[in-house]
């Protein structure tokens, strides 16, 4: 409970409302796609399963497969390499060199491959810049669509990152002011009254969900705006001040990568043995492998481990790339522990919620969902209280359009992804086109239909679209449930069931009615306004 002078409390209340109203619709889009992105790995596995589920992230002989592929790569791209599992367990690798584009921005150019984890064979191979290769990455495209909207709203860098950074700041402001203006914080954690007035019932649910969600909303907003601003703004500023504008040099200095030394050609060590050693040391699975200066005497390997049980952050080990001998345990930034490195390392688990597998992801999903609900109901409450004014009535239609139309537009991208991918077409273009068409149709419906009818139509369409996705996935070449059971793809069945349940919930929600816009009723509105302000 925070006691503030009346003037400051009023100012903070106004900031709380306006921070949500001015940027609420975009913030809602970022939160909704963030909720989906929590399960981006699982969405990738669901949308693009291989014939068999790999038993480990890096099955035996993964390193040997990487070395075999490296022999087919032009040595000009040996400067840096990533190696980690992605959709369906495909082992993704990208041999690349660092360049600057026409604007002086750092980019990566090289050769990418997806390796089959069972056989080590190359499933897909592309050459180009990192951005071009991502456009051709069909197995991960569905998950990437959600991630790209969450990270930059599909707006090109740096503007998209700056925009989502601003939205993160707005969310942080809403969380801080929400905490300060609640005069009865503890009481409101448990206050869910049965109101005959739907507006008051909605207000109670908004406050309870928002109050429980306050710490989480603050953490997500802080870490999210850190991620958005660090790449688009923070690193360029620091590079200008401390590294003469060279962003790549700034990143390498901060990360603590060893500088290029001995360029004498040399073979690469036993990667599988290094991974086995790292597993033994950490008591956890390897998450990610990075190799600097492949094929040279100064080759250097960094193994990023999954967090061990009970840990928030995974360990990082470095190895001599030629001899394969263990060199050191490395902090996420720099070569020895530092305050900045420790603080920075905390950002990832706090934002992604991936430190305890599915369990922590499920919690992050639920809290994120509550955050989306609070954002949506906050905008609804704000507009309902001002429904007599035509401008706010129009804004209310916009809120309903985004609130119900955005989830529908996101769901239907699956209807572009599965058939277009099966036909070998441009999945990214098809998904974006269908997303925009659905959003436009929802927008037209928001203008011509009453809010109650709009909600019904969009919710029903979302429910039906969700219910049809597993069938579409199967018809587009994905495994049926008996096939999935036989090949151990339990995750595919689990997501199918989750999608069907979500569809059923949307259809069930049609039975509940939202409060219809109505004439002002002073007693109720005053109560709702006062309650909301409390």
């Amino acid at each position: 409970m925070v006691r503030l002078p009346q003037q400051e409390a009023r100012t903070l209340l106004a900031i709380h409302g306006w921070s949500g109203v001015l940027l609420g619709m975009l913030l809602y889009a970022v939160i909704v796609t963030g909720v989906a992105s929590v399960f981006a790995d699982e969405i990738g596995d669901w949308s693009s399963p291989l014939a068999e589920v790999p038993a480990e992230r890096f099955p035996p002989n993964s390193g040997a497969a990487l070395k075999a592929f490296a022999k087919t790569v032009d040595p000009q791209f040996y400067e840096s390499t990533f190696f980690f599992p992605r959709a369906g367990g495909r082992l993704y690798t990208f041999f690349h060199r660092h360049e600057q584009d026409a604007d002086g921005e750092p980019i990566e150019r090289g050769v990418h491959a997806d390796l089959d984890p069972a056989t080590g064979q190359v499933i897909a191979r592309h050459e180009g810049t990192g951005e071009q290769i991502e456009q051709l990455d069909a197995p991960n495209a569905l998950a990437n669509f959600f991630i790209d909207m969450h990270v930059r709203l599909h707006v090109p860098d740096p503007w998209g990152l700056l925009l989502t950074g601003m939205l993160g700041l707005a969310m942080m402001v809403a969380a801080v002011t929400g905490f300060v203006i609640h005069r009865h914080l503890i009481k409101e954690l448990f206050t869910l009254r049965r109101h005959r007035q739907k507006l008051l019932a909605m207000r109670d649910i908004h406050v309870v969900a928002g109050t429980w969600n306050l710490p989480f909303a603050f953490i997500l907003a802080f870490t999210g705006s850190f991620y958005s601003f660090s790449g688009s703004f923070g690193i360029p500023v620091m590079a200008m001040i401390a590294f003469g504008g060279d962003q790549q040099q700034a990143i390498e200095a901060i990360v603590g990568n060893p500088p290029a030394g001995d360029a004498t050609p040399a073979g690469i060590g036993d990667i599988d043995a290094m991974m086995a050693d790292a597993r033994r040391r950490a008591g956890a699975e390897v998450s990610f492998l990075a190799v600097e200066h492949w094929g040279r005497a100064d080759a250097h390997m960094t193994l990023f481990m999954m967090p061990a049980e009970g840990q928030l952050i995974g360990t990082i080990y470095t190895y001599d790339g030629v001899s394969g001998s263990w060199l050191s345990e490395k902090p996420s930034l720099g070569k020895v522990p530092s305050a900045g490195g420790t603080l920075s390392a905390l950002m990832a688990p706090l934002h992604f919620g991936n430190f305890a597998g599915i369990a922590s992801k499920a919690v992050w999903f639920a809290l994120g969902f509550a955050g989306a609900y609070v954002t949506f109901t906050g905008m609804l409450l704000w507009t309902q209280r001002r429904i007599e004014l035509p401008a706010w009535r129009r804004f209310g239609r916009g809120v309903a359009w985004v609130g119900y139309g955005l989830p529908l537009s996101l769901i239907v991208v699956g209807y572009a992804y599965f058939p277009v991918r099966a036909a070998g077409g441009d999945v990214n273009g098809a998904m974006m086109n269908l997303f925009l068409v659905t959003a436009a149709i929802s927008g037209v419906l928001a203008i011509v239909l009453s809010p109650a009818l709009l909600r019904g139509v969009l919710l029903a369409t979302t429910g039906v679209s969700l219910a049809g996705l597993p069938l579409l996935r199967w018809c587009s070449g994905g495994p049926s449930w008996p096939q999935a059971l036989a090949s151990g793809h339990l995750g595919v069945i689990a997501i199918d069931v989750a999608v069907l349940l979500a569809g059923a919930l949307c259809l069930a929600a049609l039975r509940r009615r939202r409060p219809a816009p109505r004439k002002a009723q002073p007693s109720v509105d005053a109560t709702a306004a006062g309650a909301t302000q409390a």
């Binding site: 003037q7 400051e8 009023r10 100012t11 903070l12 106004a14 900031i15 409302g17 306006w18 993160g168 700041l169 942080m172 402001v173 801080v176 907003a221 802080f222 705006s225 850190f226 601003f229 660090s230 703004f233 923070g234 690193i235 500023v237 620091m238 200008m240 001040i241 401390a242 003469g244 700034a250 200095a253 901060i254 603590g256 902090p331 930034l333 720099g334 070569k335 020895v336 522990p337 530092s338 305050a339 900045g340 490195g341 603080l343 920075s344 950002m347």
Partner: protein, 98 residues
């Protein structure tokens, strides 16, 4: 802000919005950049570079809430502008010397 009898007139509102909006953001950016020059480097010589980036949202929030809540807007302008100018001067001096 909501147009009620308790709301400040727009003649007082817009200077506050300018201060808490663009000026607060620019000032936070300058404090972040200036931090690279006045924060301790730490054992790994990266703390002065990393901490301002990680704490940028907090720096902005401090400047923003101060700009919103100081009852004397003239003083708020002075404080925010001085913080911005001091850090801008530090950055300019460093860039000229290097």
């Amino acid at each position: 802000m909501q147009a009620t009898s308790n709301s400040p007139p727009s003649s007082r509102l817009w200077p506050r919005i300018v201060l808490a909006g663009p000026l607060a953001f620019i000032t936070a950016g300058l404090i972040m950049g200036g931090g690279a020059l006045w924060l301790p480097e730490g054992a790994e010589h990266i703390d002065n570079l990393v901490l301002p980036i990680v704490l940028f949202p907090a720096i902005w929030a401090l400047v923003f809430f101060y700009a919103c809540l100081d009852r004397r807007i003239g003083r708020a302008y002075w404080v925010v502008l001085i913080a911005a100018l001091v850090n801008a001067a530090l950055i300019a001096r460093h860039l000229i010397r290097s």
